[in-house]
């Protein structure tokens, strides 16, 4: 159950990253290449970091956890 929750949370985190990118593209378009770029990069890093931590904790660092 813990593993399933972790997988679902991971998928939700990455879906949020995709949603953020689309929302930024919708609202900012091509106005400022740097400003639109940074939040997406930070979001990707955050989602990846969360995934790494969860993989380490829930799947005992197993590389092929998911």
């Amino acid at each position: 159950m813990t593993k399933l929750t972790a997988v679902v949370l991971g998928m939700a985190a990455w879906a949020a990253v995709a949603g953020l990118a689309v929302v930024i593209a919708f609202n900012m378009g091509n106005k400022n290449q740097v400003l639109m770029f940074l939040p997406i990069l930070v979001a990707v890093f955050a989602a990846w970091g969360i995934g790494e931590a969860v993989t380490e904790r829930v799947f005992n660092g197993h590389e092929e956890g998911m």
Binding site: W14, A18, A21, A25, F26, I40, V44, F45, E63, E64
Partner: protein, 212 residues
């Protein structure tokens, strides 16, 4: 006969360590992430113009794809003076066939949704190699149709990401997806039964620490 044997000899030539460091090692994954997000955002922008922007191609009142039809009409036109946008006759015939048969109605959905999908997949780093290949195919077709714009730069970027497919999605969903799903020639953990006996699944897609 000896030279024929030499020509078809099975001999694997290894890439230099510098090439492997860039395209097969995760230490440059942050650089690939920047390239990936930039390329992905450009695709989302291009797709968004067609899905909900000023020059939308789909979901409009009236028939869909009129934007694509006007693009095709401009591309296949042969001017009285100067050179046509499309250089290859076979490609002009191909576009003309689609134009004449009204394929722009549904093909506009394929392009608009395809661009959005490629953009999202590149940003989250899922199926990165396939997404880059699809993006490069779109760029290639736009260039064949005579539209340069940003296509040459995006095409080159997509090709580089495609070459580095193993690591370009490392800071992304591919970090878990590739070892789990594997590849057609080396199934991952999710397809254990299909993996070669003793192959250990997609072992080669799970990075070894310190490997260069």
């Amino acid at each position: 006969m000896a030279f024929l044997n030499r020509a078809f000899e099975k001999k694997e030539l290894r890439d230099p360590s510098a090439v492997r460091a860039v395209f097969s090692n995760t230490w440059l994954a942050p650089l690939w992430l920047v390239a990936r997000v930039y390329l992905g955002y450009q695709w989302i922008l291009a797709g968004s113009h067609k899905v909900w922007g000023d020059q939308r191609w789909i979901g409009v009142s009236g028939p869909d794809g009129l934007g694509l039809k006007s693009f095709w009409d401009r591309a296949i036109a042969i001017p009285a003076q100067g050179s046509p946008a499309i250089k290859y006759d076979w490609y002009r015939t191909f576009i003309k066939y689609m134009d004449d048969n009204g394929w722009y109605h549904w093909f506009s959905w394929v392009i608009a949704c395809g661009e959005m999908t490629v953009g999202v997949l590149l940003i989250v780093g899922a199926f990165t190699g396939l997404a880059a290949l699809a993006g490069a195919t779109l760029n290639f077709n736009f260039m064949l149709a005579g539209s340069a714009s940003t296509n040459p730069v995006l095409f080159m970027l997509a090709i580089l990401i495609l070459i580095g497919w193993k690591v370009s999605g490392w800071i992304g969903v591919d970090r878990w997806l590739l070892p789990a799903l594997g590849t057609p020639w080396e199934p991952g953990r999710a397809f254990k039964g299909l993996a070669h006996e003793g192959g250990g699944g997609a072992a080669r897609l799970t990075p070894r620490r310190g490997a260069a």
